[in-house]
């Protein structure tokens, strides 16, 4: 790959600018669909973009008592983490821009950067809502992270690779959703937890702690965090669709499958009441982690048996 | 459930036990008005009402009769009956015992009475204002007749 195309891939398409815009588009789709389920009109198509543009143009107020550099750096690191993660993912049905063995693990950790940054951002301020929000965000991170990781490692196990492009190639045309239903369920619910969508929005429950960890953020910082979340939504949806829904070999399949996943997530958002943070943790460790482990054991067992058969 | 007649008779009996300090009238068929000549009897009468399980404290009304005379009206409701214990407080120095030990729900009513009328309620747990802002001038009671809103605009 030449330097020019590499830079273009990083800054414009498929990562970079195009990804930011599609993050906003998915955010709009999420809000609009949710509104339809709640018998509302919902936002206009450019609303997320307009919000971000407006926020970017606004003054960023750094409150007293924060570490100024950290306050400015955290949103940038968060967005950078999400954008980097996107480089290893078959976005829009195209091959990943970069790929190396074991990039799945790196990608998953890069995806956690956003939550981590939000947690630190909340803890960085003196605001009580932020502090409680930060505690909740990190608590929630520790509860869904392991099950979510295990759920995405399920397909890796059967594909016998830790490289996203190889797993995606293996999963192409194979609906692992059918053979690993629990893994799929945990993956999609884990993604909702990651994105702090209802009912896992305890870290930013507005009726309790205003805007949670990001209460003190305004202007550019808030805009970057929101962009990061949009990117993470696209990347997460791509991963789950590529692994479980028979792959995203072309842009059309990508669009169709990620939107179906989004629809499933919206239905769950509309149907459920917000969980308390202790209920979220309890749910993940009591059911999520155990179920996905059971799924793992079954997968390993079947895999071993089929290997024996092949050899025999 | 007691009938209206029974409640009224019982309340009369209780108030009658403090013969020398109370004056009982019945302004309306369902209302009994008990004037306490000695405010110190309030807690004892309320205790007696509680022992007989006669009604619940519905409200405490403050009244400024003018000439520095205040009244505190303790309304107890039972069914359709309203028993009003009327405590008359004279002079600028006014004090009445708090009922909040006996009836926890009396606390917000008493705090309102203290803030709005300047009745000194003895034994209220919290000294803070409930309704008035923190920078409200001391000794100014908005519901008294001599209240002059001008004092608020004068910055001290």
């Amino acid at each position: 790959m030449s330097t020019v195309t590499s830079i273009a891939a990083l800054l414009l398409f498929p990562s970079g600018l195009f990804l930011l815009l599609s993050g906003l588009a998915y955010e709009w789709a999420d809000r609009k669909l949710l509104a339809q389920f709640q018998n509302r009109v919902g936002p206009r198509w450019f609303q997320p973009l307009a919000d971000v543009v407006k926020l970017l143009a606004k003054e960023e107020v750094a409150p007293d008592g924060v570490n100024g550099r950290l306050f400015v750096a955290l949103p940038i690191i968060a967005l950078a983490g999400a954008l980097t993660a996107a480089l290893y993912v078959p976005l829009f049905g195209l091959a990943p821009a970069f790929s190396f063995p074991g990039d799945l693990i790196v990608t998953l950790y890069l995806l956690s950067m956003l939550t981590l940054c939000m947690g630190i951002a909340g803890a960085n301020t003196l605001d009580r809502f932020s502090l409680v929000g930060a505690t909740r965000a990190l608590t929630q991170l520790f509860s869904y992270e392991a099950p979510f990781l295990l759920a995405l490692l399920g397909p890796a196990l059967v594909a016998e690779s830790w490289q996203i492009s190889e797993i995606a190639a293996y999963a192409n045309g194979r609906y692992l959703l059918l053979t690993q239903p629990i893994g799929f369920l945990v993956a999609i619910i884990g993604l909702m937890g990651k994105l702090e969508l209802p009912p896992f929005d305890a870290p930013e429950a507005e009726t309790e702690i205003v805007a949670g960890a990001l209460t003190e953020y305004s202007g550019r910082g808030l805009a970057l965090f929101r962009l990061g979340k949009g990117v993470e939504m696209v990347v997460g949806l791509t991963l789950v669709a590529a692994f479980y829904l028979g792959g995203v070999a072309n842009p059309f399949a990508f669009l169709l499958k990620t939107l179906v996943l989004l629809l499933v997530m919206v239905v769950m958002q509309a149907l459920m009441t917000r969980l308390r943070i202790d209920q979220t943790v309890g749910m993940w460790w009591r059911y999520g982690a155990l179920l996905v482990l059971a799924q793992w054991l079954i997968t390993i067992l079947f895999h071993a048996i089929s290997q024996v058969h092949l050899m025999g | 459930m007691k009938t209206t007649e029974e409640i009224l008779t019982l309340a009369r009996e209780i108030a009658g036990a403090w013969d020398w300090t109370t004056e009982v009238t019945q302004p309306e068929p369902n209302r009994l008005d008990v004037l306490l000549r000695n405010p110190a009897d309030l807690v004892a009468i309320v205790t007696a009402l509680r022992v007989k399980r006669l009604g619940y404290l519905a409200a405490i009304t403050g009244l400024d009769l003018g000439a520095g005379e205040l009244e505190a009206l303790y309304h107890f409701c039972a069914g359709e009956v309203v028993i009003t214990l009327r405590v008359r407080l004279n002079g600028r120095e006014t004090a009445v015992a708090s009922l909040s030990e006996l009836i926890p729900s009396a606390e917000p009513f008493e705090r309102e009475l203290r803030e709005m009328y300047g009745v000194n309620i003895i034994g209220l747990p919290s000294p803070d204002y409930l309704y008035l802002p923190d920078d409200w001038p001391a000794g100014v009671y908005p519901m008294r007749q001599d209240f002059d809103p001008q004092v608020l605009s004068r910055k001290t």
């Binding site: 389920f37 709640q38 018998n39 009580r128 809502f129 409680v132 505690t135 209802p198 009912p199 929005d201 305890a202 429950a205 507005e206 009726t207 309790e208 702690i209 205003v210 509309a270 149907l271 459920m272 009441t273 917000r274 969980l275 308390r276 943070i277 202790d278 209920q279 | 302004p27 309306e28 369902n30 209302r31 008005d33 619940y56 404290l57 519905a58 409200a59 009304t61 009244l63 009206l73 309304h75 409701c77 069914g79 359709e80 309203v82 009836i103 926890p104 729900s105 009396a106 917000p108 309102e112 919290s126 803070d128 204002y129 409930l130 309704y131 008035l132 802002p133 908005p142 519901m143 209240f147």
Partner: protein, 366 residues
């Protein structure tokens, strides 16, 4: 004595401006992690000095003043005030006027309870229920508008009667609207008592036993959800409630779920009452003549507002202005319970416990 090991208290202020509060109030919750260990409340942010102002205005002007104590239960306030003034003057409003007052009281209760359902669902983080219940609330708002000309502050009462009449056309519209609402209410009742994700936020949370309820002096549906059978409409019937008695709805459980169930069942009872009033609306005049000066005396007027017992004390000295109008609203009785119940609960449960009493800060502050 202060010790070094004494833990610094971490307090979370809620209000005066906070997304959980639709009106200003100020709570301070001290928390240990997510558990609330103490709570205090400050009120008065919506204090408008209405009781003081009432002493400067005449009896008629005060109707409009007290109607504006609260935006949601305005008719209840005006009814309590008018009934009290009429009693002082020795005048009784005609039966048709009393029935129409009762009718609007019940329609207002429907609107208030539906509003509460939405707010509480939102506090619990169940926005879908919030959106749907508020959509349905529009039905009763439209009916009230058709009947009185206003969506809130209906201004139905005058001293000595009412100023709106129920025509056959409006009655039919109300019947139709109620049929729709009844069906929806049954659905909501099923949702709040069977939806698993909702129940894990409401069942067994914020439990107030009957004894606690009596000690804390809570009123209205909050008390009835704890098994206290007290309803002014039945205990001391006013307006036309003697002719159209409601059933008292009680639940013994005392938790948040019970408060949802009680209010929803009260909705069903209100639908029945409204239909009954419309079916047997007495004929006759709407008003009687009222004197401009009211005989001197004191009286007490109690009505059952959507949030509980509303208590008015009126004193006249024989002129055209009152000496004292004291309104004790239900929220002040219930507010103590929030502060006490919150202790020991998770911070996440606090907004729902607060919403559980259906607080109205502007009623409370006057």
């Amino acid at each position: 004595m202060q010790t070094d090991t004494q833990r610094e208290r971490f307090t979370i202020p809620i209000g005066p401006q906070h997304p959980a509060l639709k009106e200003p109030g100020h709570f301070r919750f001290s928390v240990d992690g997510e558990i609330v260990t103490g709570a205090t409340v400050r009120l008065g942010y919506a204090h408008r000095g209405l009781e003081k102002l009432a002493e400067k205005q005449n009896w008629v002007q005060n109707i409009y003043l007290f109607e504006r104590v609260c935006g949601i239960c305005s008719h209840t306030h005006a009814t309590a005030y008018c009934l009290g003034v009429e009693r002082l003057a020795g005048v009784i409003a005609p039966p048709r006027a009393q029935a129409i007052r009762t009718l609007v009281c019940e329609l207002e209760r429907i609107h208030s309870h539906l509003l509460w359902l939405g707010v509480s669902a939102h506090e619990a983080g169940f926005d879908t229920l919030f959106m749907y219940s508020w959509r349905d609330r529009e039905t009763v708002m439209d009916l009230l508008e058709a009947l009185t000309g206003n969506r809130v502050n209906y201004s139905v009462n005058v001293l000595g009667g009412v100023k709106v009449d129920v025509t056959e056309e409006i009655a039919q519209a109300i019947y139709k609207g109620l049929d729709f609402l009844e069906e929806r209410t049954h659905h909501y009742l099923q949702v709040v008592s069977s939806d698993a994700s909702f129940l894990q936020r409401a069942r067994g949370v914020g439990v107030m036993t009957r004894q606690q309820a009596e000690v804390m002096g809570v009123v209205g549906p909050t008390a009835r959800a704890s098994g206290v059978t007290r309803d002014i409409r039945i205990e001391a019937p006013y307006a036309a409630y003697a002719d159209f008695p409601p059933q008292v709805i009680v639940d013994e459980r005392g938790d948040l779920e019970a408060r949802f169930v009680v209010r929803l069942k009260e909705l069903l009872e209100s639908y029945r009452l409204v239909r009954e009033i419309l079916a047997r609306l007495p004929e006759g005049e709407l008003t009687v003549r009222m004197p401009r000066r009211i005989k001197s005396g004191e009286t007490v007027s109690r009505v059952e507002a959507p949030r509980g017992e509303l208590f008015y004390f009126l004193k006249s000295n024989g002129t055209d202005t009152p000496v004292r109008v004291h309104a004790r609203t239900p929220t002040i009785c219930n507010m103590t319970s929030v502060v006490r119940l919150a202790v020991g609960h998770q911070l996440a449960d606090v907004p729902l416990i607060l919403a559980g009493i259906d607080p109205c800060f502007s009623c409370n502050d006057r």
